[in-house]
């Protein structure tokens, strides 16, 4: 939208013929209509007492009953709390790790070493959650896991039934999240650091500034806009969780729900395991609406801070 900011003379745009261009866009438009827009109208399911026997149209309306039931249970509070707290932890700790990695990679310049480190740190991001769940299982399972059999044994400690003890999971899930995403998140910060004018550093080291001083006085202040944008974008997704992390990694263990249930896993379980379509739809709508409100709010904040980076 910013391209025609400063046109000296107002030239009347001569439009291209729309027909052929629309035709080229048609398959994509059709797909988005089906995959994304029709389900938006399907949110009315949250206000129905759905049964598969009667189908989508013939199931009776029941007003706000689904929401009433949903918010009467402890589940609603637990899943919302978990979703938000995990996201906050991921944003804060993830950003710290990502920036640290970016600064360290940048310090090594363009070398084979740097390439090797970056490749290694990015590799986990390409793994599916199923594979990651296998890796976590290789470490944690109670009979043959590496931790119980090797580490705890060497320390002379009792085995831990990791998949039954909910108290450990906030830490486990945060570590797994960082393992998968920290390297990936650092790409953006590394690009931002690479964009900083080198002469600033040269001047600083001529004045005798140590590397640590340069990081705290130059790099971090100049990264601030990037951090703000990335954080606000993450805040915009604060009601959404990575389904694979919370469903696959804890192996769908019921004993852990108190610390692993998020809105996304609840919606899945309601729909596919408990056959409680109405409640599940209500939770999904609750998530979509809150998500929409917060993303619009976050964008308004971005626009205040730095209008160039606003999404819309």
């Amino acid at each position: 939208m910013s391209e025609n900011k400063s046109k000296p003379i107002k030239v009347k745009t001569k439009y291209a013929k729309s027909g052929p261009l629309l035709l080229i866009a048609a398959p994509g438009i059709l797909y988005l209509l089906i995959n994304n827009y029709i389900p938006m109208f399907g949110i009315f399911l949250a206000f129905k007492n759905f049964s598969y026997k009667k189908g989508i149209w013939k199931s009776p309306w029941n007003g706000f009953q689904n929401f009433k039931f949903l918010f009467h249970t402890k589940d609603a509070i637990i899943m919302t709390r978990n979703t938000i707290l995990y996201n906050l932890a991921f944003i804060v700790i993830g950003t710290i790790f990502a920036i640290t990695i970016a600064i360290l990679l940048n310090a090594l310049g363009d070398s084979i070493r740097t390439k090797f480190f970056q490749s290694s740190l990015l590799l986990p991001n390409l793994m599916s959650w199923v594979i990651i769940a296998y890796m976590v299982y290789a470490f944690l399972n109670s009979d043959s896991g590496f931790i119980n059999n090797t580490i705890l044994e060497a320390l002379g400690k009792e085995d831990v039934a990791w998949y039954m003890e909910r108290g450990y999971w906030p830490f486990i899930l945060t570590i797994v999240y960082l393992w998968k995403n920290a390297g990936y998140m650092s790409i953006i910060y590394l690009a931002a650091i690479a964009g900083i004018d080198k002469s600033v550093y040269e001047a600083a080291s001529l004045d005798g500034a140590t590397k640590m001083q340069q990081i705290f006085r130059i790099t971090l202040p100049l990264l601030k806009p990037t951090v703000i944008i990335m954080t606000l974008m993450a805040v915009g997704r604060i009601f959404f969780s990575d389904f694979g992390l919370f469903y696959q990694v804890p192996m769908n263990s019921g004993a852990l729900y108190a610390t692993t249930q998020t809105i996304d896993t609840y919606v899945y379980r309601g729909l596919m395991e408990l056959n409680d379509v109405g409640m599940s739809a209500a939770a999904g709508l609750f998530q979509s609406v809150l998500g929409f409100i917060i993303v619009v709010t976050a964008n308004a904040v971005v626009r205040k801070v730095d209008s160039d980076n606003a999404l819309f």
Binding site: M1, S18, G42, S120, I131, G183
Partner: protein
Amino acid sequence: MAKLKSAEHVASDAKRFEIISTVILGILAVIALLPIILIVIASFTDETTLLRNGYSFLPEKWSTDAYVYMLQQGATIFRAYGISVLVTLVGTVISVLITTMIAYPMSRKNFKYKNLLAFFVFFTMLFNGGVVPSYMMWTQVFNIKNTIWALILPNYLCGAFNIFLVRNYYANSIPDALIESAQIDGASELTIFFKIIFPLAVPTVATISLFTALTYWNDWVNALYYIQKPQFYGIQNLLIRIMNNIQYLKSGAASVAVGTGAIQLPSNAVRMSMAVIGILPIVVIYPFVQKYFVKGVVVGAVKG
């Protein structure tokens, strides 16, 4: 302010910082790779060693039994692998085609509905109907349950992120004059797109192909929702099933299984060897595609 230091001091400080960076990154890189190494080693560990000592980085006894077993009893595995390959190929080709096509008019400055179309795409990033309405539409209206289409159609064919990635590439790298001169020569929009625009967009096509192929190869969610028949499982969902089944055998039927020691399934090792072949294609192509991956993430983040 800080005290001034001599030039040597600064140089030695820089050297020290480089060493510290190398050490910290070295440790982080090892942590990143260790879980992958563990499952590879576990897949080559003798089953009785696994049962006695658990998964370990230095097994007492090595063995290739798991891979031999997979090759001999591999029909299910090969089938799942084939489905994963098929879904990844078909999904990626269709996705790249319709994504580059919808992005093209959005990049044309003189397209009347440019902004409207951009908003139409962008809005899908802001709001979604959620899982339940999607599930009902795909299963009740389109009836894709337990068909190969269930693995391809829902969710991943044409995402806003990729569309904007391509749109920005077209808008910034393909000069208007090129299109205008083709039009003067009498080329139709379709010809211009397929003969000029698409071939020029190779770098961005490489990037979105990579993203999309990874998405399809790693996807297990579509099958979780839409597939109940195991013959349609790709490698990821076969892995889920095997994890659950072996757990079930271990907890429920341990006493029953004792007497029937005829065929020894090296279950712990096989599990891990399957995970290894699940990540094999990614690890093999990774060195060649990393640069597109990094570029795509940077470009995508700059302006959505």
